[in-house]
């Protein structure tokens, strides 16, 4: 050791000052301009069309919910970063907490009490994200953890959805801050109505009957809701075009949901709603492009992505149709999150040169 050190000092030329700073990187020495921040920001931008439709049909309350969730998310993120001794600005500005917050706000009822989304966001950021090590390390989708926790804990509050066209901001604010009774502006979502009718009211109920009889429910996925879903679709397609997400997940999700709903509605259209209804209602479209596609908690191999998204779709349909909760996306995503490491493990694409014997990779 001393010998080499001696030689280093003797032979080190000074024509060019050598940089042996440990922070000087090794190859590659230049990088493609890309960053986590730009990825997250583009996801947020892609949510805007859906949000616009939401505001148009269901009032501006959603904006308030988004704002509150965002503040809660940033506060929780800052708190956890400070507690864990991580660089604050670097991670606060990565935008990942905002994505979680927006997704929570968009999946929660927009006229739910203010603390519901805030509590959900805090739990998502603190428990589901930072206890696992923060960005990139959480095995569960934080937004879906928040939704599942809240719907299990406060099923009543989580079912107070605004009626389409009821855009009276004052009434919504009263609902959010609990200052007045809110029955007038709420109604069940189509999924909720359907489940309640089919599960509790006996044999007389049928899909067509429920959907047709209810004035608030639109022709495809519920009045207003189908337009919100269309907004998400537009944003999602833009994400695809931006190559933030790949085609695998949305395609597999929508195709699987369409297929299973289609088959069962063909078997018995009075008991099972049609495929278009399933795709355009509830969180399906948001899920297809923004929730299922979360790379951190989902599967990452091409085949794995297909399996993962199709699994979410099938589970969603099962829970929607047979389960106790109105929308199954959150539970389905969490269930598939559990399986994601195994899916990844068993769908490893064959490595260069090892393609003839597929079995040898783990």
């Amino acid at each position: 050791m001393p010998r080499s050190a001696k030689w280093r000092s003797r032979t080190c030329g000074r024509t060019i000052e050598q940089n042996r700073d440990p922070l000087v990187n090794n190859s590659p020495y230049f990088l493609k301009p890309a960053s986590v921040q730009s990825v997250m920001l583009r996801v947020l931008v892609a949510l805007l069309p859906g949000i616009a439709a939401y505001v148009w049909f269901f009032g501006a309350a959603i904006l308030l919910q988004i704002a509150m969730a965002s503040i809660a998310a940033l506060a929780a993120e800052a708190l956890m970063l400070a507690l864990r001794g991580k660089p604050l600005m670097l991670f606060l500005s990565d935008g990942s907490a905002l994505v979680t917050a927006w997704l929570i706000a968009l999946t929660f009822p927009s006229i739910a009490p203010w603390w519901l989304a805030v509590l959900g966001t805090l739990l998502a950021i603190i428990v589901a994200k930072h206890l696992y090590g923060g960005l990139g390390q959480n095995p569960f989708n934080p937004a879906m953890v928040a939704f599942a926790l809240m719907i299990v804990a406060y099923p009543q509050l989580m079912s107070q959805w605004p009626a389409a066209g009821a855009t009276d901001l004052a009434g919504q604010l009263h609902a959010i801050f609990g200052t007045r009774q809110i029955d007038a502006i709420t109604m069940a979502t189509p999924l909720d109505a359907l489940r309640t009718a089919l599960h509790t009211i006996d044999a007389k109920a049928s899909v067509a009957g429920v959907l047709g009889s209810n004035p608030g429910i639109g022709s495809v996925g519920g009045k207003g809701w189908e337009w919100v879903a269309a907004g998400y679709l537009v944003g999602g397609l833009w994400l695809l075009q931006q190559r933030i997400i790949t085609w695998h997940m949305p395609t597999a999700f929508l195709a699987a949901l369409f297929a299973i709903a289609g088959v069962f509605s063909l078997i018995d259209s009075t008991q099972f709603a049609g495929p278009l209804f399933h795709i355009f209602t509830g969180g399906a479209m948001l899920g297809a492009f923004f929730i299922v596609t979360d790379p951190v908690s989902g599967a990452t191999t091409p085949r794995g992505k297909l399996i993962f998204a199709a699994g979410v779709a099938v589970l969603t349909w099962i829970i929607r149709t047979f389960g106790a909760y109105p929308d199954g996306i959150a539970f389905a995503v969490l269930l598939m999150n559990i399986a994601a490491p195994l899916i990844d493990m068993y769908t490893q694409p064959p490595v260069f040169g090892h393609k003839d014997k597929r079995g040898d990779s783990p």
Partner: protein, 194 residues
């Protein structure tokens, strides 16, 4: 026929022995660090639990109930299961060293698995007949195996995660188990559908 299917499905998913009944947490936490061991433990438990359910049904129906000795149920079940575990281990060790190497160290651990006692007791309280008992035991064991394998998959990845110091190890594993349990709540109501 469908009722048997519902017994198995219910035991595997809806009333998963680990996530919903919260039984067998000790091996669930202890033997889920690696996927291979999880598979081994799952296989061993499936074997013993199915056998144990059958044996305990026989003892309950033809020994305890005729003699009005129901109060000895817990005790006799424990003894029976412990003996089955021991016997299984000895036989496997001799007949198939390979299988013993895979299952070997997990077999004794099963004795301490409360699920292995809990399921036979549940069988009694649910008034299952012999076939139902076997199916319920088998289904629960499959549910246990499923939980163990899924959990092991997550833990193998979690092992490399930057978990805050105070939450490393069992703490974060408990949180994970809780969230998995939350996810399994999504199956609620499936077994009661019409």
């Amino acid at each position: 026929m469908t009722s048997y299917l519902f017994i198995i499905l219910g035991a595997v998913l809806v009333n998963n022995v680990v996530f919903v009944r919260i039984l067998g947490l000790c091996p669930f936490m202890g033997v889920s660090k690696k996927l291979e061991t999880a598979v081994g433990m799952g296989a061993a438990t499936t074997f013993v639990l199915t056998l144990g359910c059958g044996a305990s049904f026989v003892i309950d129906r033809w020994l305890l109930i005729p003699n009005q000795l129901e109060y000895l149920r817990t005790l006799s079940f424990i003894v029976t299961i412990a003996a089955i575990v021991q016997l299984t281990e000895l036989v496997i060790q001799k007949t198939s060293p390979l299988l013993h190497q895979v299952l070997g160290i997990y077999l004794p651990l099963i004795t301490t698995n409360c699920a292995v006692l809990g399921i036979p007791l549940l069988n009694v309280s649910l008034r299952h007949n012999f076939l139902e008992s076997l199916l319920f035991g088998f289904g629960s064991a499959i549910g246990f195996t499923l939980a163990l394998i899924l959990f092991a998959g997550i833990r193998e990845r979690l092992e490399a995660a930057d978990v805050p110091v105070h939450f490393r190890g069992t703490a974060i594993a408990m949180i994970t188990a809780g969230l998995m349990s939350l996810a399994f709540m999504g199956f609620a109501g499936l077994d009661k559908y019409k």
